[in-house]
């Protein structure tokens, strides 16, 4: 069965080629941008790499990566069936806001409180993305357009919810939703004095990644979802109801998106305020693209992006602009799209040629190379002639 091994290593190579090429190109282009603006094109990178060696920065990177990762899972569920949920931003912010309100007004024991909070986040996210899903299924509205608009509407809804007439509590100039009950604080992993605490929700994120993989690759539902993404017409002919699938995928994507704000909310802020981290939903799209929707790939990508943001801050102190990280993120997105598509085209063509070559060499399954039994071999000889 040595053929299979060869195919496998080939596939690993192909899978790795895309992101590696994209990152190299993005780094190179960033250096060019730096050089063009008269800066040292390499020093900022060495500063940023150095940051990654400090354990307190490492904790920050891991903590921020958790939310990015969960957001990326939400985006990836959509991507796997050709739905572009740009609304993760609105979904996770609204969900975080609602969850903070629930957490501030209800006090169960922790073993009930935390599941309740997770549930309210997921349901809020799902409702918000579900609106886009229903619009698409019943009216054919593109989910790209509706989710973008729902982002704005979510911002307005949040503004309303944080009014003092509604659920808001003013803390200084900051409008918050009030501090959540302690039962809803997710226990973290203390890494020691001066280093910080890793959010306990990181583990939930990892678990979500595993569930995501299991669901996609080991369940009937996941197969239908992937089939819909790979070929809508073939999926329909195979018996997948397109509308049901769109709605389910949107709900699922929104539910996961709703959880993206929880690492921060339950791990550190314990309240939703104007200063709650924003634009995670958009960065999650970068992560999903770079990680090719694969759970492991997205984990690496979320760590990378998180490093980019956390390590860029000290650049300001050294006379560089920390916006380098933003430039780099943009370049990564472009490079990723270009390099993945070219690697895919190249890989398909290469495989076609290899299959042709294998067949010409007589390596047909069931004849020469595989370890099948002899009776089949002879039969094949007759059939293949």
């Amino acid at each position: 069965m040595n053929i299979f091994k060869r195919w496998d290593s080939e596939r690993v190579l192909l899978a790795a080629a895309g992101p590696v090429i994209a990152l190299v190109v993005a780094f190179a282009l960033t250096s060019i941008v730096l050089a063009a603006s008269g800066e040292n094109p390499f020093e900022p990178f060495s500063i940023m790499f150095e940051q990654a060696t400090f354990s307190d920065v490492q904790v920050l990177i891991i903590n921020d990566a958790a939310g990015l990762y969960i957001g990326a899972l939400a985006v990836a569920v959509g991507f796997r069936m050709n739905l572009f949920n740009i609304g993760v931003e609105g979904q996770y912010r609204l969900a975080a806001c609602v969850t903070a309100i629930v957490g501030a007004h209800i006090a169960f024991p922790a073993f009930l409180q935390i599941p309740l909070l997770i549930l309210s986040a997921a349901v809020t996210g799902a409702i918000w993305s579900g609106i886009a899903g229903v619009l698409k299924v019943t009216r054919g509205v593109s989910e790209v357009v509706s989710t973008i608009m729902l982002n704005s509407i979510a911002a307005s809804v949040i503004s309303y919810l944080t009014l003092e007439d509604a659920f808001g509590v003013a803390v200084g100039n900051n409008r918050t939703t009030g501090e959540m009950d302690k039962a809803g604080w997710f226990p973290g992993i203390d890494m020691g004095e001066g280093v910080g605490t890793i959010y306990g929700f990181v583990i939930v994120g990892v678990a979500l990644g595993v569930i995501y993989w299991l669901m996609l690759n080991r369940t009937r539902f996941g197969f239908d979802l992937r089939a819909s993404g790979a070929s809508e017409s073939a999926a329909a002919a195979s018996g997948v109801s397109a509308k049901k699938m769109v709605l389910t995928a949107m709900l699922l994507s929104g539910a996961i998106a709703g959880l993206a704000g929880l690492p921060t909310l339950l791990g550190s802020t314990h309240t939703f305020s104007d200063s709650f981290p924003a634009s995670l939903g958009f960065n999650a799209i970068t992560v999903a693209l770079l990680g090719r929707n694969s759970p492991a790939g997205m984990a690496l990508a979320s760590l990378l992006l998180s490093w980019l943001f956390n390590a860029a801050d000290p650049l300001d102190l050294q006379g560089y602009s920390s916006e380098i990280a933003t430039i780099m993120q943009g370049l990564i997105v472009i490079a990723v799209v270009v390099s993945y598509e070219s690697v895919r085209v190249w890989g398909t063509r290469r495989q076609q040629q290899r299959v042709g070559a294998e067949l010409a060499a007589g390596h047909v399954l069931g004849t020469t190379d595989s370890d099948s039994d002899d009776t089949n071999d002879t039969k094949k000889e007759v059939a293949a002639r």
């Binding site: 053929i3 996941g222 018996g239 495989q351 299959v355 399954l365 089949n376 094949k380 293949a384």
Partner: protein, 479 residues
Amino acid sequence: MHALVGENGAGKSTLMKILYGMQKPDEGTIAIHGEQVSYSSPADAIARGIGMVHQHFMLADNLTVLENVVLGSEKLYGIGGKARRKILEISERYGLGVRPDVLVEDLGVADRQRVEILKVLYRGATTLILDEPTAVLVPQEVDALFDNLRELKSEGLAVIFISHKLGEVLSVADEITVIRRGTTVGTAVPAETTSKQLAELMVGSELPTPETADSTVTDRPVLQVEELRLAAPGGGKPLLDGISFTIHAGEVLGLAGVEGNGQTELIETLIGLEQADSGTVRLLGDDVTGWPTRRRRESGVGYIPEDRHRHGLLLDAPLWENRILGHVTEAPNSKGMWLDPKAAQADTERIVKEYDVRTPGIDVTAASLSGGNQQKLIVGREMSHSPKFLIAAHPTRGVDVGAQAQIWDQIREARREGLAVLLISADLDELIGLSDTLRVIYDGRLVADADPASITPEELGSAMTGAASGHLEHTEDGA
């Protein structure tokens, strides 16, 4: 006029791609008019006077013929009167009969093909490549096409003609090249060759015939369709109207018709992709009219789609995932809500062996197999779930002679075991040879029925154009 014949995956398409500049040769030379050339893109090939008429037409439906022809070569004669005059001139010179101001969507298949040929001539082609030009035509249209091609030839153009249909090749070509596994295995002059000899050259085996042995038709109805009607989306004439037929266990019902006369819609209504506006579909006595596709498939409807890339395969997925497609809820693919990849993989290996799918392994993507092998995989998959009713749309289209015989055998085998088959095919020999009953569909209606034992392809062909419709049996024994 030079014909190129060969099995599927023999390298015909690759050769054509090289000639048309879509792919680069590793070695060897191409000479045009005695001059060695090398080019890197179709644009170079066009500049050298090579034109390609693809098997799948590349026309924009909502543009007129004139607009389609000038599209992309506006520089040649502009887009106005000069272009129109040029089109009419070419059309007249070669007897193509093209009307420049008609919308392409209003044209039939044969007319579209003529537009494609004109498009190529308009760009100044002196060498025409036609990829399986007769696959979509009825016999009368094929004759007309050949007349056009002879006209082109007499005007001094060279025509390269790719085909599976040996009879046609023999009747129209001046010289024939047979290729197998990427090399030329022989050349022949039609006057000195029979189609049998050609076929032997192609596959090294005898030419198979699609004839069924004795009738296996029972009186147990499997599929009963009554007064099926499907309205057109924007109003207007219904796509299907008053369709009624019954297929019994062990019966193959052949549906003849020029493409675009409602076959696709009928298939989609039977499989559940379209909901009929009125009428009923019964499967083994159950009214399945309102059932979703999955439930129909689970209850024993097999489906060999007419467009395997669009409806039958996930091209970028490995073979074993393609084996699951369409049967994800059935054993051995899943247990409860969980997939069973191991069992599915093992079963894929079985299909690959039993149905002679030529592949180095089951982890390669479906896209990397040749069309014939993709089709064998689909047939194997559908047959593996012992269907009660099989929709076989062009089951051997684009499949080489060897695989064709195999697929016919499998359909016959299953029929003997009580399978009911709806066979739709543009290959009239296949249709007549395999079917127990024949129906003709024209304009969304079943207009004629015929006895496959006595009807000739020509008679069937004329019924397909709507010319010789009639509800009586066409048994003109004199023919």
